[in-house]
């Protein structure tokens, strides 16, 4: 990571489209993500930031307040706070208060562990704070499989506490997986029940997500199901612009792209500050290749945002390789940089979940090398909150044998054979 001596001057088209302007970068991010801690009570199988243990270099309360002061000066009006589990930082509520009173609105993501009735009442009394509860299954079976035992109940209890306290319009944030795409209507029903808004996001192969992506990323027909559901329900559902790689479906249907920017905002309009003050191009790219600088070591966030070599490069015209000749290039613009990087695909090629199937072809070609993850804060030893990710099933051949041949003895089939309960 390098910080340039002076801020690069970029020629701007007068009156160009907003997308063209965004690709060249903004003076400050529209909204940035700030992971306050890598510590977490859970160990979700697909955690983007490989969270678990607190990093001993974590920014102090005073250092965090200095970052907030700078965000206020830069007129960053909104920050997404996450982690880890941000609410287990002892100074979380103090920092929340500090941000809001300095014109920096907060939306924080939580698994709900600290949202007891008292905290829920406090949140209901604040303005300018949004709460987003993570829920990755509409049933405990599906949710707890990836988020760990008891996490469904924790999330639902938090939602109930918020509703009882009169907190309006909490968000329920769902990472869409192979296992929960069939539950979209059920998620919507849960959101409606608790007076909340549903927010759907894409499973990224980042952090520990790389370990489970092959098993959990939606199948091609599920992508279509998801897209159709978004088109049918989109007005009341948030997506954080997450699914722009699906926009080609709409264009192929003769319609238009999904609402939103449909653009990779990494280092251009968004970025991530991690718990030790490292600045990455986007929340899904916690990796040295996307590290722009550090707020402590490199002269503050504004300097990193405006003068880092990495962000300057991301704001310069990109080549999109084979995708440029695709009829749907304007709809998806090559997809998600992080998804390509962490599946070992070239950044100037198709997204691994390209709706035309080019990503699958590239994945199958076999000559890709997965990048080492390197920024792992996972807990060193197993804990009771860890997801197990095992399902019990019977071997197909065992079932077939059972159906066709009588057991050699009653006990060979079942110790309770012959008994009726």
């Amino acid at each position: 990571m390098t910080i340039l001596e002076t801020r690069p001057v970029v020629a701007r088209p007068e009156g160009g489209s907003l997308i063209e302007q965004f690709e060249l970068g903004l003076d400050a991010p529209i909204c940035l993500t700030w992971e306050l801690t890598y510590a977490c009570n859970l160990e979700c199988a697909h955690c983007l930031s490989s969270s678990g243990r607190r990093d001993p270099r974590e920014l102090s309360t005073e250092q965090c307040k200095a970052v907030i002061d700078e965000l206020q000066r830069m007129q960053v009006f909104y920050v997404n706070i996450g982690g880890g589990e941000p609410t287990i930082r002892p100074d979380f509520w103090e920092l929340l208060d500090y941000a809001v009173s300095h014109d920096v609105g907060v939306k924080f993501s939580t698994n709900g562990v600290r949202l007891n009735p008292e905290r829920a009442r406090f949140l209901a009394s604040t303005d300018y704070v949004d709460v987003q509860i993570s829920l990755d299954g509409a049933t405990p079976e599906v949710n707890d499989y990836v988020r760990g035992p008891g996490s469904f109940d924790t999330a639902i209890t938090a939602l109930a506490n918020l509703q009882d306290a009169g907190f309006k319009d909490a968000k329920i944030s769902v990472v869409c997986t192979r296992q929960n795409i069939g539950q979209l209507d059920e998620f919507k029903a849960i959101a409606d029940q608790y007076g909340a808004t549903l927010r759907l996001t894409r499973l990224r192969p980042s952090g520990r997500g790389a370990d489970v992506w092959d098993e959990l990323h939606p199948l091609p027909e599920q992508q279509r199901e998801l897209y159709d559901w978004l088109v049918a329900n989109g007005e009341n559902v948030l997506t954080g612009d997450s699914f722009f790689h699906l926009s080609a479906f709409g264009v192929a249907d003769g319609g238009s792209a999904l609402p939103g920017l449909n653009l990779c905002g990494a280092g251009r309009v968004v970025c991530l500050i991690d718990p030790i003050g490292d600045v990455y191009a986007c929340p899904f790219a916690i990796h040295d290749n996307f590290l722009a600088g550090n707020v402590l070591a490199d002269g503050g966030f504004e300097t990193v945002w405006q003068r880092s070599e990495l962000f300057t490069e991301l704001r310069s015209p990109q080549t999109s390789g084979a995708c440029t000749s695709c009829a749907f290039f304007d709809a998806c613009r090559g997809g998600c940089m992080a998804a390509k990087f962490f599946t070992g695909l070239p950044l100037d090629g198709p997204d691994p979940e390209c709706v035309r199937g080019f990503g699958e072809d590239a994945l199958a070609s076999g000559d890709r090398v997965l990048p080492p993850q390197g920024k792992d804060h996972s807990k060193a030893n197993p804990t009771r909150n860890q997801p197990v990710m095992l399902t019990l099933s019977r071997r197909d051949d065992a079932l077939a044998v059972q159906a066709t041949k009588p057991p050699v003895s009653a006990c060979a089939e079942n110790p309770l054979a012959g008994f009726t309960l």
Binding site: R12, E14, Q21, L26, D27, I30, D103, Y128
Partner: protein, 104 residues
């Protein structure tokens, strides 16, 4: 009178809940109340929005910024868009304001 003519004759202000953040191509407008975000894609439009409060009506604001008359309908449409999300709001008339100030 068309809606364009009507707005040209009206007095408008930047909403007190809105902050304008300069950007290389114009500005980003953020409304602290309804949390809506919008972008002003031209420097001249930013000057117009910033100038509204100092002028008796939209017409004189456009003149002061030097917007060619042929472009006025476009600018008025942009202002109407901003008004729809309360980024700008009609200024209270002098009479109404003096009543308010008298009460304060």
């Amino acid at each position: 009178m068309t809606t364009t003519d009507q707005m040209l004759a009206e007095a408008w202000d930047l909403s007190p809940a809105v902050a304008l953040r300069p950007e290389p191509f114009g500005a980003m407008a953020y409304h602290f109340g309804n949390r809506k975000l919008t972008f002003l894609k031209r420097m001249q439009l930013v000057d117009v929005v910033r100038g509204l409060a100092a002028h008796p009506d939209v017409r004189s604001t456009l003149q002061s910024v030097g917007v060619a008359e042929a472009q006025w309908p476009g600018y008025v449409a942009a202002l109407q868009g901003l008004a729809a999300t309360d980024m700008i709001r009609p200024r209270a008339t002098d009479q109404a304001r003096s009543v308010q100030e008298g009460a304060a």
